[in-house]
């Protein structure tokens, strides 16, 4: 049975939705958010179909590939497909997009204008999904860039505080990163004469000279590291998160950050194995600095959103650590960590957004101390998300970090002892994460009952958040559900690196 229309449809549906929002008249303001839910639901259904069609036994190879020649002058083909590495991220994106759409039905941030809001969300969806499906370097880059403008609009117009400045910092910083990444891509394309990610990963890239690989890898990693964000390139993140509207934060942390680490696993590791072997220890060091730095900085923040933003730096540090081990366990850990962080931080930002909507602020100084008492269910969700985020075993957040440590015990690269030192430091990061999240809960949740109660979690909020809660628990108790999908694909990636080892 042919299912070649599925992946293109996954891109076309939100794109048409965005266009419809552009073309719709003022009257559409009333039904725009419902339209958004409809489109995202359709997208989610399509994603479920993709999952059904996906052959788990062959998750190591690209499936449902669609190929069209597009710009021969640039060696660019329109080529998309999914495998075990990208499918989970595609699903995550569709899911978070759906959650965001549901949340937006009644909660478009100030100043309203639902049409534009929904249209931008849908355009964002196109970029995010496309990034995870693209099998051509330039196509990947284009989709990578597509997300920028919508996210900039979301922050600059629906944000709060210093939104314009934060939005500009976000876009300029990440564009600088992606231009650097593009330079790296061009090196690869010029050297190999191909932009086909599959061919490049299957040995074409490895034929490049070591010095060319090193140049390309440093450039591409540098670009992706901005997006991830890797310490010390993280500084755009806290501001962007603080200013962004709720769904913007959710998608930013939940999906956009993943594009960086996904790019590393998808492109850098298999395409430039020789370079990766020599860069990996440095990457690992940066990753662990990020883990500790993110945790320590989180503790010092006085704003909920900033705390979570810095915690993302730490969590993504674990993902980077997993990648830098270049081992099957480590890269699996990274992919798992990506998904888990997307779910958990997505939920955290939803909940914090809920708090902000009710109290008007996320700064500790302005927040009442007694969320547990004034809105017990909201408080419970905050506690749940915080506990998941600090890496509680039995919830999704733990496995990515734990397996990254296991991977660091047996890295593929020769610097074993160095990695074991990093392992210990990274494990300390887990405790630090506990410290700042407990501080948050103590500061925001636990206080004497206030005189006025806040509105507790509403039905639409439950609807949009429950899938995240459920998946955090399910992946926490059954991590193998996800690992079974990623593992075969990761083996393929690691085999390509293993060949590069002396």
């Amino acid at each position: 049975m042919t299912s070649s229309w599925l992946l293109p449809a996954l891109l076309v549906v939100p794109l048409l939705g965005a266009l419809a929002m552009l073309l719709a008249g003022r009257g559409a303001e009333r039904w725009a958010t419902w339209f958004g839910v409809g489109v995202q639901s359709a997208g989610l259904l399509l994603t479920l179909l993709v999952m059904a069609q996906f052959s788990q036994t062959q998750s190591g190879s690209m499936q449902m590939v669609v190929e069209h020649s597009w710009i021969p002058e640039l060696l660019v083909d329109f080529r998309i497909g999914v495998d075990g590495i990208s499918l989970p991220l595609v699903v995550l994106t569709s899911l978070l997009g759906w959650c965001a759409a549901v949340y937006a039905v009644r909660r478009v941030a100030e100043p309203g204008r639902a049409r534009a809001f929904v249209g931008l969300l849908l355009l964002l969806q196109v970029g995010m999904l496309g990034t995870f499906m693209a099998l051509d370097l330039i196509l990947f880059f284009l989709f990578f860039e597509v997300v920028l403008a919508p996210m900039w609009f979301l922050i600059a117009f629906w944000g709060s505080g210093e939104r314009r400045r934060s939005a500009n910092t976000f876009i300029l910083y990440t564009v600088l990163g992606s231009v650097v990444m593009l330079l790296g891509f061009l090196v690869v394309i010029v050297e190999t004469g191909s932009a086909d990610m599959v061919a490049l990963a299957n040995g074409l890239g490895a034929q490049m000279s070591t010095s060319a690989q090193l140049t390309a890898a440093l450039l591409i990693l540098g670009g992706l590291a901005v997006k991830t964000p890797m310490w010390p390139l993280h500084t755009w993140l806290p501001d962007a998160h603080t200013a962004a509207p709720t769904v913007g934060s959710v998608l930013l942390a939940g999906v956009l950050l993943k594009m960086g680490t996904y790019g590393m696993v998808r492109i850098v590791v298999p395409t430039l194995p020789d370079a990766m072997v020599s860069i990996a220890p440095y990457l690992a060091a940066f990753a662990v600095i990020g883990i500790l730095y993110g945790a320590l900085a989180s503790y010092g923040q006085d704003d909920l959103k900033r705390v979570i933003a810095f915690s993302s730096v730490g969590h993504m540090g674990f993902v980077l650590l997993g990648i830098s081990t270049l081992s099957v366990v480590g890269i699996n850990a990274a992919l798992f960590g990506n998904i888990a962080h997307g779910l958990i931080t997505g939920l955290l930002f939803f909940v914090v957004g809920g708090i902000k909507q009710r109290t008007g602020s996320t700064a500790f100084a302005d927040l009442p101390r007694s969320l547990y008492a004034s809105a017990p269910r909201l408080g419970f969700l905050l506690g749940f998300a915080a506990v998941a985020s600090l890496g509680m075993p039995g919830l999704a957040g733990f496995w990515g970090e734990f397996l990254a440590l296991v991977g660091a015990y047996h890295p593929l690269v020769p610097e074993r002892l160095f990695y074991r030192v990093l392992l210990v430091l990274a494990a300390m990061g887990m405790v630090l994460a506990a410290a700042y999240f407990l501080k948050v809960l103590r500061r925001v949740g636990q206080g004497p009952a206030p005189e006025t109660l806040l509105d507790d979690v509403a039905t639409d909020e439950w609807l949009s958040w429950t899938p995240l809660v459920a998946l955090i628990v399910i992946l926490g108790v059954a991590p193998f559900l996800l690992l079974q999908v990623t593992e075969p694909a990761v083996r393929v990636v690691v085999e390509s690196v293993a060949g590069a080892l002396p």
Partner: protein, 616 residues
């Protein structure tokens, strides 16, 4: 799905249901909680009937090929401990119905207790290291939640965070230890990993040393003990659970579970013995000068756990488990009784208690029995279990253990001393609570309702008779000596020996006598030395200075660094670019001569440069 996994999942599901539905009505919440724990007890009984000590029950996990999770092992050891856990938890749940009558958040409270039970059971039956980690860490979470049950009070908030973080510090070691174990043995299955590690002394030493850190945290041993006394900020039934059935027992149990690996690491065993000695005597001395009923009992737990750790260090796992079980019954009994006193009087401060004997007869009798069991008076359970530890120390002193004989001697001497101190603080506690004049606050005190005192009465039974179960080889020793990781040897009965019995009886008499003699001294007026001891030898201050303050300083540095250096360098680039734009814009003021002359100059410069370039 194995029965063992079912035993874990039933209370876990009860916790989930309790959280989802419990808010609707209190009886429903109570029914779910009690029903869940009772069902778990049923499964535990069923498992025991399968005689796992003869043939361990192995359950495979899910997710074969990637990260198998949920493998279980029920051997004699696990089965016995599971029974104790379910039994105590069930009594705690029942007791809580009465104790938490006024509690607005009863449903979540009961759910967390169910989760706590589930987590402990997961540790007990874990057949893979991952399930072990899950149970281990979730327990830490539950202790945080339950100690902080009354989060309106600053004391509870602080204690909850402290409990979580201090144990979590130990868990750095635990997690790394598990990582090393998995990494070095290339398996996540617990029996396989333990067997493989036991064959490699390096791995055994590193892994058991790291895991020991976690054990010290959970079982509140020096230097990670500081959380336990503060943890009494939680409701009394929670203390009973933490001090008896879960949490602290988990640490000892995990060492027993991984025991072949520990036996392959004598250095670690020696370290354990030393730590145990310090903790044992130190905590007992601190307990003597406490002013709060539950604080005395808390320090007592720290001290008693050290007996178990000492036994483990001396190669006497069975003695350790025996003492763990007997201590669980007596300590659960004591905390529930203390809870009854607090419930009735409204305070646990010793200076507000006194003369309660008549008004609370059931509590009085049960608590007295609990104290006697704790001190180790014949024929109560504590007597036999403590004797088994002393016997092990004596054997070790004679060189019958993995560790050096001086270690055995040290443990033996310190244990005897500690018995005396234990008798002293128990005697003091008894006198201050039950005898003497009634204080103002205790007028009008009445016995607690049946739902609370029945669990006390039930607990009296094992506290009294449990000791005899080890005298016969066929009973307790056979059960707890059967583990999946070792070949099943011939079980030996855990019988007292004359020398140690004499020594301990003398110690009890000396200690209790001293407490009686000094009872007329004003107990609460202390000098600086006394305050220092009562504050845990000032350990909290050390902790503040060595850990908390440096941490906050580093946080300050990092935060400031992030705000200034990194952030400013980024915004500096932006500002710099804008400034460059202004500077570059300056020449363009419409002065056309200057435009032209600069362009011509540029052409000339370019020509000169290119000519030079070509020439060279």
């Amino acid at each position: 799905m194995t029965a063992a996994l079912l035993m874990v999942l039933v209370p876990a599901v009860a916790a989930l249901l309790g959280l989802l539905l419990g808010g609707m009505s209190r009886p429903l919440a109570a029914a779910i909680a009690v029903g869940g724990t009772a069902s778990a007890l049923g499964v535990a009984l069923y498992l025991a009937l399968l005689e796992p000590w003869a043939e361990p029950l192995i359950g495979t996990g899910f997710g074969e090929g990637t990260l198998p999770l949920g493998a279980t092992v029920v051997d004699g050891l696990a089965s016995t401990v599971a029974l104790m856990v379910c039994f105590v938890s069930l009594l705690v749940q029942i007791y809580s119905i009465g104790y938490m009558r006024e509690e607005p958040r009863y449903s979540s409270y009961a759910a967390f207790i169910s989760l706590f039970t589930a987590a402990m059971l997961a540790v007990v039956v874990a057949g893979d290291l991952l399930l072990l980690v899950i149970g281990w860490e979730v327990m830490g979470l539950c202790s945080y939640l339950l100690i902080g049950q009354r989060w309106e009070q600053e004391e509870a908030r602080r204690a909850a965070v402290k409990a979580f973080l201090v144990t979590k510090i130990g868990d750095i070691g635990f997690i790394i230890g598990i990582v090393v174990l998995i990494g070095a043995t290339a398996t996540t299955l617990l029996p396989d990993a333990v067997r493989a590690a036991a064959d490699d002394p390096t791995v055994a030493t590193v892994a058991s040393g790291l895991i020991l850190l976690g054990v010290l945290g959970k079982s509140a041993q020096f230097p990670l003990h500081a959380w336990l006394p503060d943890a009494m900020a939680g409701p009394s039934p929670v203390s009973a659970l933490i001090h008896a059935a879960t949490m602290v027992a988990a640490g000892v149990y995990v060492v027993a579970r991984l025991y072949p690996m520990y036996l392959a690491a004598p250095a670690i065993l020696t370290a354990m013995a030393v730590i145990a000695c310090v903790t044992m005597l130190g905590a007992a001395v601190i307990a003597v000068v406490q002013d709060d009923l539950k604080r005395v009992l808390a320090w007592s737990t720290v001290s008693q756990l050290a007996y178990m750790v000492a036994a483990l260090a001396l190669g006497a796992r069975d003695a350790a488990i025996f003492h763990m079980l007997s201590h669980a019954f007596s300590k659960a009994l004591l905390f529930l009784a203390a809870g009854a006193v607090i419930h009735a009087v409204g305070s646990g401060a010793l200076r507000e208690l006194g003369g309660l004997r008549r008004s609370m007869p059931v509590t009085f009798i049960t608590m007295t029995i609990g104290l006697l069991a704790l001190v180790g008076v014949f024929p109560l359970a504590g007597f036999f279990s403590k004797e088994s530890v002393l016997v092990a120390a004596e054997h070790a002193a004679h060189g019958d253990a993995e560790v050096a004989s001086w270690v055995g001697w040290t443990v033996l001497v310190v244990s005897i001393l500690t018995i005396a101190v234990t008798a002293a603080y128990a005697q003091r506690l008894w006198l201050l609570t039950w005898s003497g004049p009634r204080r103002d606050s205790s007028s009008g005190v009445r016995e607690v309702p049946a739902v609370m005192f029945v669990p006390l009465v039930v607990l009296v039974v094992p506290a009294v008779v449990f000791g005899f179960s080890a005298l016969e080889r066929a009973w307790l020793p056979t059960w707890i000596q059967a583990t999946v990781t070792e070949p099943l040897g011939t079980a030996e009965a855990l019988r007292p020996e004359v020398a140690t019995v004499v020594l301990s009886v003398v110690a009890v008499i000396v200690g209790a006598g001293a407490a009686l003699v000094f009872r007329h001294r004003e107990t609460f007026a202390r000098g600086r030395a006394g305050s220092f001891v009562a504050a845990g030898f000032g350990f909290d201050a050390v902790y503040q200075g060595l850990v908390v303050r440096p941490f906050l300083v580093v946080v300050g540095w990092v935060t400031a660094f992030d705000r200034s250096a990194i952030q400013r360098s980024v915004s500096g680039v932006g500002v710099g670019t804008l400034r460059a734009g202004s500077l570059l814009q300056r020449p363009y003021r419409g002065d056309v001569q200057r435009y032209v002359s600069s362009a011509v100059t540029a052409v000339v410069v370019a020509i000169v440069v290119m000519l030079v370039a070509i020439a060279t």
